[in-house]
Amino acid sequence: MLRKMREQEQTISILVSNQPGVLSRVANVFGRHGYNIKSLCVAETTNPEVSRITLTSESDPDFTEKIKKQLEKLVDVVEVSDLTGPSYIQREMMLIGVPVMKQEIHSDILRAIEMFGCRIVTMSPDYYVLEITGLQDETAAVLKYFQPFGVREMNRTGSIALLRHLSKNISQ
């Protein structure tokens, strides 16, 4: 893309009507303008008629404003907000499966689990499944640490975010 300058990761929350086909309309807006969705998370809100799409995309701030306007034009979109910046808490969850080939690395793994604050979801004599929650940088660091052990499986949710302080507006 030509727009590489000033690109940074933006987190956008899109409240949409909870119906088939809506995600494809939203994704279309990004695709049509040549922007890649880096991570995506969709879930129902406290109102079952409304879902929240939280996504991250690398773009410049001007573009976020433009894409926000485009998204707001979609009939199924209720509200678009930019969740980028220090006012927002961001988290993603990652699951990794680590095989234990040699007995002596058990203690290394257990130390790392403690240090990173990972949770053991399931374990057997030759396999651990770990759960890590944190900023994308943190989950990435954990993944990097365990890679030499031979991470067999990995799946991550992509970022979700929430306002850090009590909001004056009633949100979904």
């Binding site: 494809s24 049509r32 034009k73 979609l74 009939v75 199924d76």
Partner: protein, 557 residues
């Protein structure tokens, strides 16, 4: 007879004020086409679904009402696509109804099944597939509301055959919640005051009129504003006719095929009030050099149209009608200024330099056609040289009197759109002007025109070539002509006669008046094939990648 989904559709269309549907039946539309016999809604059977969409578009542009087209599933639906995209680009309010295979067959690659919702997603404002007969009424209501409010555009409603045919108890109707309406964003009065102040203080102001003036019915307000402040105006392709070009303040069309005066004055002005225009690449040419001295105020109802391609100093998101109503009393009444005098002088210089308005004998011919036709004539121009000749020479006196495919540039638009315009305004004369290339693209609609005996005057300006492409190859591809020769072997008058429509062939620089007279004096439709020199280009023209003032006046430039 039991009430079925199709009855509900027709009843709702009636309640929405629909009088006419342009359509084409298929196995899956049959419940609707069957029940149409009991409905006062008139159905025009086109000869191609693409033409049905263009006709609905032409109807909407000529009347200001929502145009409706109807096609069957599969190929019927996909044939609508070019017409829907054309309407989308020019913001025409339209509802496209497509039949779909029964819900039990959806996703099974059933006969004539296609995912028309997926296909049309980027070219509609929204689309609905109805899965419950009790949702039909509210879905259609939402579709019409959406098509005509905010920035208008096409909305598609896809209805499976079993829903069309299923029994229905009106008492069980449920409403599909519209989570949001096409909300009006009310911009502050303060912004209007700022715009007024800047306009009043400017020394060299101009107004750019886009298609939004027609769409918001703001002709009178715009005219009042121009006359009060004595501001010259230019129009985009879509804005032509919004204000009578003969009122003394018109500088013509801007952009790559625009008038030299319009482009030159935009380059010199210090303030632009842009109303209902999105600053498309065709209007601005090289965006970096567009109006370098101007402060720009833009009024538009679509937030995405503001500042999309160009930096706006004073944006106003909202209804044009409301904005102009608020703006008008704040604008100072002015006397004719030095600025107007300077423009007038420049105009005289340009006229001396460019005889015939840069459109040659073809332009003169179109002028003769307009003189021979009644004052209240609607002209529908196709795409290509014929379009530029028409928009540059036809004096559009009233707002809806010049119709053309601006954003999409759809060849073959004029004939079916003229059908829609004629059906929508039977009291007016309608002229369709196309080139030979565009004429071939929807030539089958001669059958529709003949069948309904619609008195459309069809003019084919025939140069035997794809003229605009020929000009581009001539000027910018070192005259390496290729794939543009259509030949003149086809006897288009005989073709017309074969469709039951009388006609004649003339050569514009020999005997134009005889053909025009015969056309005007013939009741009903008429085909006038007007032969022109293939070297009759449009000047000035802006080369690709150049700014609005880097115009070429002839091939030697």
């Amino acid at each position: 007879m039991e009430i079925i989904g199709a009855d509900i559709i027709l009843k709702t269309l009636m309640e929405e004020g629909v009088e006419v549907i342009f359509g084409y039946p298929g196995a899956n539309t049959l419940p609707i086409h069957d029940r149409l016999m009991n409905s006062p809604i008139r159905h025009y059977l086109m000869r191609h679904e693409q033409a049905a969409a263009h006709a609905a578009d032409g109807y909407a542009r000529a009347t200001g009402k929502v145009g409706v087209c109807l096609a069957t599933s599969g190929p019927g639906a996909t044939n609508l696509v070019t017409g829907i995209a054309t309407a989308y680009m020019d913001s025409t309010p339209m509802v496209a109804l497509t039949a779909q295979v029964s819900t039990s067959l959806l996703g099974q690659d059933a006969f004539q099944e296609t995912d028309i919702i997926g296909i049309t997603m980027p070219i509609t404002k929204h689309s609905y597939q109805v899965h419950n007969v009790n949702n039909l009424v509210s879905t259609l209501r939402n579709a019409f509301e959406l098509a005509k409010t905010g920035r208008p555009g096409p909305v598609l409603v896809d209805i499976p055959r079993d829903i069309l045919a299923s029994k229905c108890d009106p008492a069980e109707e449920t409403s599909v919640s519209a989570l949001k309406t096409n909300g009006k964003v009310a911009e502050s009065e303060e912004q209007i005051e700022k715009i007024a102040k800047s306009l009043n203080q400017s020394e060299r102001p101009i107004i750019i009129i886009g298609g939004g003036i027609k769409l918001s019915n703001s002709f009178h307000l715009m005219r009042a504003l121009i006359e009060k402040a004595k501001i010259p105006f230019v129009t985009t392709m879509m804005g032509i006719g919004s204000v009578d070009a003969a009122n003394g303040y018109s500088l013509g069309l801007i952009g790559t095929h625009g008038n030299e005066l319009a482009n030159s004055i935009v380059h010199q002005c210090d303030f632009i009030l842009a109303v209902g225009t999105r600053f498309s690449d065709r209007s601005t040419a090289l965006i970096e050099e567009f109006a370098p001295l101007a402060k720009i105020a833009q009024i538009d109802i679509d937030p995405t149209s503001i500042g999309k391609s160009i930096k706006i100093n004073l944006p106003y998101i909202g209804d044009i009608n409301e904005a102009l109503t608020a703006l008008l009393p704040l604008i100072d009444e002015k006397e004719k200024s030095d600025w107007l005098q300077r423009i007038h002088t420049e105009q005289e210089d340009i006229e001396k330099k460019l005889s015939g308005g840069g459109c040659g004998e073809a332009g003169n011919f179109i002028r003769m056609v307009q003189e021979a036709m009644p004052k209240e004539t609607t002209v529908v121009a196709d795409v290509g040289l014929n379009q530029i000749w028409t928009v540059r020479t036809w004096k559009a006196h009233s707002p809806r009197s010049l119709i053309t495919s601006g954003g999409m540039g759809t060849m073959g638009f004029s004939l079916p759109a003229a059908i829609g315009a004629q059906v929508g305004t039977p009291e007016k004369a309608v002229v369709a002007i196309s080139g030979d290339g565009g004429f071939y693209m929807n030539i089958q609609e001669l059958a529709t025109i003949g069948y309904y005996n619609l008195p459309i005057k069809i003019i084919i300006i025939n140069n035997g070539h794809l003229g605009m492409i020929k000009q581009i190859q001539d000027l910018f591809y070192s005259s390496r002509f290729n794939t543009i020769d259509l030949g003149t072997k086809v006897d288009l008058v005989a073709v017309a006669r074969g469709f039951g429509i009388p006609g004649s062939r003339i050569t514009v620089n020999e005997n134009p008046r005889t053909g025009i007279e015969e056309m005007v004096n013939t009741d009903g439709p008429y085909v006038l094939e007007a032969m022109v020199d293939p070297e009759n280009y449009v000047y000035p023209i802006i080369p690709p990648g150049c700014s609005n003032i880097e115009m070429i006046h002839d091939r030697l430039d």
